[in-house]
């Protein structure tokens, strides 16, 4: 009998049964990792969510904008940081990089909306997917050209940029019996700050009011004298800017790092999160980020300890996506009628 169980557990990949102390440490590990993942996911997805919410456009170029943000942020850091630069100064420069990249990509997004997105609002949703996908092809290739021109390898992470992070972030800290990298704690803080900023923008500013109203009923919003087209431009710009902010954060993270494939990688994460949360619901995006971050961390832990299949976390995320679409096509917090887009 015992031999049978062993054979069975080996067959399904269970190498050992976990002990109780392992479990508590495992939970703490998963919670912390999950939060840091969730913070990155919400950074990646929030711009995508805002844009879809107001305009019904699923911006395929979002991941590419994140990737460009990572490179631009890296440029700012690599140019300004020398080996003598102190930790706090590096953090200050990092926030400067975030501001600069947010500004640059917001302008870029607004210009993109005015020139190529605007002419296709009246066409079938298919064309919006196609057009933004075309932008992916062009942006990825342009970045590849410039990066190669500068003598960098576009496929692998930009190590020099990762190296500009202050030492305090690569140190490991002990939290609840689990040692965690300073960077991951920093990411949790940045993610929370960005969520708070977007929440305040949506609920406390007049433009946020326009966006929430426009997401529900663009016609009625226009009939109240609000120029919804201008709101489209602004939101598309802000969405692009947020994609860039996510990129700057990922530039420091050795699990991601600035590289051309980062674009598609983050795009797929963004889709998963936004669709699980419900297209167009910011609350849904935040909740889905936590759910996806938790799932990712749990599966990473399961992979490291029990099931030797490296693709497990990623695959399970997609399985969750497919599952949610089957059970609740509009997502956790989405409005049912958006499903027609």
């Amino acid at each position: 009998m015992i031999a049978d169980v062993t054979a069975l557990s080996t067959a399904i990949g269970l190498t050992q049964l976990p002990l109780l102390t392992d479990v508590t440490i495992g939970i703490a590990r998963v919670v912390l990792d999950g939060l840091s993942k969730a913070a990155l996911f919400v950074l990646i997805a929030s711009g995508l969510s805002l844009i879809f919410g107001l305009m019904g456009i699923l911006n395929f170029a979002h991941g590419s904008l994140t990737m460009i943000g990572a490179y631009l942020g890296g440029v700012v850091m690599v140019v300004t940081v020398t080996s003598d630069t102190a930790g706090p100064t590096r953090l200050l420069l990092f926030f400067l990089a975030i501001a600069a990249v947010f500004g640059a990509l917001t302008a870029f997004g607004a210009a993109m909306e005015r020139t190529i997105i605007r002419p296709i609002y009246d066409r079938a949703p298919l064309f919006q997917i196609l057009l933004t996908f075309g932008v992916v092809l062009v942006l990825d290739e342009l970045v590849r050209i410039i990066v190669e021109f500068r003598g960098l390898q576009p496929q692998s992470d930009w190590q020099a940029a990762i190296g500009t992070a202050p030492d305090s972030l690569s140190t490991w800290y002990d939290v609840a019996g689990v040692s965690i990298r300073g960077l991951y704690l920093f990411e949790i803080a940045i993610g929370a700050a960005v969520v708070a900023a977007i929440y305040l923008f949506l609920t406390r500013t007049r433009y946020g009011l326009y966006i929430r109203a426009g997401s529900e009923d663009p016609e009625m919003t226009q009939a109240l004298g609000i120029d919804i087209r201008r709101a489209f431009t602004v939101v598309f710009g802000i969405g692009a800017g947020l994609a860039g902010v996510a990129g700057v954060m990922l530039m420091w993270d050795p699990r991601y790092g600035a590289s051309v494939p980062l674009g598609v990688e983050t795009l797929l994460i963004g889709f998963i999160v936004v669709i699980i949360g419900g297209l167009g619901s910011f609350k849904g995006t935040v909740v889905a980020s936590l759910l996806a971050g938790g799932t990712d961390a749990t599966m990473t832990w399961v992979f490291q300890n029990h099931v030797p299949f490296p693709g497990l976390p990623e695959m399970v995320l997609f399985v969750v996506l497919v599952g949610v679409l089957i059970v609740r096509p509009q997502g956790l917090f989405g409005l049912a009628e958006v499903g027609g887009h």
Binding site: L209, R212, A213, E216, E219, A223, G225, R229
Partner: protein, 232 residues
């Protein structure tokens, strides 16, 4: 003074033409009813005025300016308000926010709250609730209040009594009467006696064009034209 003038307005949704030459005039201060059966183009007339369904031909003049083909938000900013069919609440926004977004100048929001909640005291206790949680009658009040606080000279009111209990209809009718003291009103209403009671004049629409018009004074359902084009 003529506030609004439609001249031979045609409009269509894709292939199907709905308006086939609608002409009408509204004087400042009037309440004008637009009556007719379902599907004759009453709502489309309103949508054409607002530029939501832009006229394919014909002109719309507001005050002394031609507003045909202008963007909806430009038309709205000139002082035309809309109290749409089905009320079209921003259901996730609170009642306060529904009023706030309808107020063109942010500085006037406190005044707008004052206007809205003195007109509809019943709404006061629901100010912080999402508008989607209100009853149908309360939502209609919010819809009218939105039109009221928007500095509008002309209000386009579409089917305000639809789907409401008789008692609530009285309240809504009263509200429209109050509103009409401040603004000119174009009213689309299925409830014929109510329309005649509220309006000074009427236009009768059939097959996308005006077939009859006149004062509401002494008009009855039995009049030849009205019976032919209104009764089912």
């Amino acid at each position: 003074m003529t506030l609004l003038r439609l001249d031979n307005v045609h409009a269509s949704y894709g292939q199907s033409t709905v308006l086939q030459g609608v002409s009408l005039e509204i004087e400042a201060g009037e309440v004008v009813a637009l009556i007719g059966r379902n599907g004759v183009g009453k709502t489309t007339t309103i949508r054409s005025i607002l530029g939501l369904t832009p006229p394919s031909s014909g002109t719309v003049q507001f005050r002394d300016g031609d507003i045909t083909g202008m963007e909806t938000h430009d038309i709205a900013q000139r002082g035309i308000g809309w109290v749409p069919e089905d009320r079209r609440m921003f259901s996730n926004l609170t009642v306060d926010e529904n009023i706030r977004i309808a107020t063109p100048n942010p500085a006037n929001v406190p005044d707008a709250f004052e206007t809205a909640y003195s007109t509809f005291p019943e709404l006061t206790e629901h100010r912080k609730k999402p508008a989607g949680d209100l009853s149908g009658g309360q939502q209609q009040m919010v819809a009218i209040a939105r039109g009221l606080v928007g500095d509008n000279d002309l209000l386009l009111v579409d089917e305000p009594s639809e789907g409401l209990a008789p008692l609530i209809v009285d309240a809504v009718a009263e509200a429209i009467e109050t509103v009409s003291q401040e603004a000119t009103v174009l009213l689309v209403e299925q409830n014929f006696p109510l329309a005649m009671e509220l309006a000074d004049r009427y236009y009768l629409l059939a097959h996308g064009t005006v077939v009859d018009s006149g004062s509401t004074e002494g008009v009855s359902r039995d009049d030849e034209m009205i019976r032919r084009h209104l009764s089912a």
